[in-house]
């Protein structure tokens, strides 16, 4: 087992939290996102999308963090984290998907603006090695996101906060009465909202504190800082 990951990557943090919950200790390959190591030819041979995390197991590569979480739970079901009944599992999967489509892309854009992200000259040439969609996104970042995109991204995060608060109205955890992959998929992203000056509803703040208290989260808390780096592509059509 080998995990390619990076400090400052919320998607990587989610995987490390599950590994911690399950007591699994894969070999770790740490990438330096500030040094754009994820765009190096050596890493692009591992993941042509130039992104972390990637989990390797039995010689096979497993991508896409929320699906890595499910893979880990399918393969190492103890303790179970997918949810205790079909409804919880539906909610956990719904959140796993929502992070990718509605939270992470917008958080990355808001973060890039808040941290005054810049692509260093040394990293510019490397962008042309990326797949077309990744290259396009990085070129937009380099150019700087316009006011309209920033407003849309900030609004998307407010909308996400409202949905989080609505699902938390039923209990302590996002998907019902137990801690699940849904909490883990969302947490590392939502934990950055406050630091970026985005207001967080009280129910969400209290939930963040509950998740933060778990030993698996404590163990990786040094990885949770915001970093000016791109996330998934924002939706192109609805």
């Amino acid at each position: 087992m080998l995990l390619h990951y990076a400090p400052g990557s919320p998607h990587s943090a989610a995987v490390r939290i599950v590994l911690g919950e399950k007591g699994l200790e894969p070999e770790l390959h740490k990438l330096d996102l500030v040094g754009y190591e994820q765009h190096s030819p050596a890493y692009l041979a591992i993941n042509p999308h130039g992104m972390v995390p990637v989990f390797e197991d039995d010689g096979r590569k497993v991508f896409e963090s929320s699906l890595i979480l499910e893979y880990l739970d399918d393969k190492w079901p103890d303790p179970p984290l997918a949810g205790t009944d079909p409804r919880q599992r539906y909610r956990a999967r719904k959140w796993g998907k929502y992070v990718e489509t509605h939270i992470a892309p917008h958080l990355a854009i808001a973060r890039w603006a808040a941290l005054h992200g810049k692509v260093p000259e040394t990293a510019v040439a490397g962008l042309s090695n990326l797949l077309p969609a990744r290259c396009e996104l990085w070129l937009s970042a380099r150019h700087g996101f316009g006011h309209e995109q920033l407003t849309a991204s900030t609004q998307a995060i407010f909308a996400a906060c409202k949905r989080l608060a609505a699902d938390l109205a039923d209990g302590e955890w996002l998907c019902g009465d137990s801690f699940t992959l849904g909490d883990i998929a969302v947490y590392p992203h939502a934990a950055q909202f406050g630091a970026l000056g985005l207001p967080v509803p009280r129910a969400v703040d209290e939930w963040l504190a509950r998740v933060a208290a778990r030993p698996s989260v404590q163990a990786i808390r040094g990885d949770l800082f915001p970093l000016a780096v791109m996330g998934p592509e924002p939706g192109r059509w609805g």
Partner: protein
């Protein structure tokens, strides 16, 4: 009690219908006419405030994400299992569903709606169109409808979508050259997810999807179109889909071609 609120059996709308037919689970089908914008009307918004279809309500539990809802259906009801048991194969099923949902289906939707829906708005009263936009709850959906209504989709975006669709067709043809089904050696939710948007390609994209260019994809499309459960789901459509599916079966030489005619 199981209620499915959705439109024609295709794309996201079709996913729960195909899935329920494959498992032979009884349900009540509530037809939401997307062409008439019923999904933005008060009655449907009371069920799904986001105004997207499908919505699936099982004993009071409402689901509006079609891919997670398919896994729910597979877990909560009897019938043949539609997910591989082996963790890596199951991951592969989810990964390809994610690729369809986030990359391929939006690209196809952008192209199809620009071709089919956008022309209907030409010459319509701009204030009336604005009033329709106001009723759309999700900002990202509102933005796409605004582009359709005012013919504002960038040509570069359409070209990029074409590139993605072409890429996906080649990729799935490659996958199906290596294995029988999309995720492995058995029919799974990944087959349903791909079929829901690819079922019509042999006629809709005849020049790209045919026996010479994509033999493996064609082999798989024939097998899927021959499945009685998928045929039955396609026949539930009230609009053009049932007829279109019958024409595709005919073209593919698959039994059941005349069933909907």
């Amino acid at each position: 009690m199981l209620d499915v609120y959705t439109w024609e059996p295709n794309a996201n709308s079709g996913k729960p219908l195909f899935c329920l037919h494959e498992k032979a689970v009884p349900f009540t089908y509530h037809y939401i006419d997307m062409g008439a914008h019923e999904h933005h009307g008060a009655e449907f918004l009371a069920i799904n405030p986001d105004g997207t279809i499908p919505a699936i309500v099982h004993d009071g539990f409402t689901m509006t994400e079609s891919t997670p809802a398919m896994e729910y259906i597979d877990e909560a009801f009897d019938g043949p299992s539609l997910r591989p048991a082996e963790p890596y194969h199951r991951w592969r099923m989810r990964m390809l569903l994610r690729y369809m949902d986030n990359v391929v289906a939006p690209a196809l939707a952008m192209i199809a709606s620009n071709r089919l829906a956008a022309p209907r708005f030409i010459g319509q009263d701009a204030d009336e169109l604005r009033a329709m936009l106001e009723r759309i709850p999700l900002p990202e959906r509102r933005a796409t409808w605004e582009k359709l209504m005012f013919q504002a989709t960038a040509p570069a975006d359409l070209a990029e979508s074409e590139r993605r669709v072409g890429d996906a067709i080649r990729r799935f043809d490659g996958i199906l050259g290596r294995r029988e089904w999309i995720a492995g050696d058995s029919f799974s939710l990944a087959d349903i997810g791909v079929f829901a948007t690819f079922y019509s390609l042999p006629t809709a994209r005849e020049e790209q999807v045919n026996d010479a260019a994509t033999p493996h994809l064609m082999r798989w499309l024939r097998t899927c179109h021959a499945r009685p459960a998928l045929q039955a789901a396609l026949r539930m459509g009230k609009g053009f889909i049932a007829q279109r599916a019958a024409e595709i079966r005919e073209k593919l030489g698959v039994a059941g071609a005349a069933a909907a005619a």
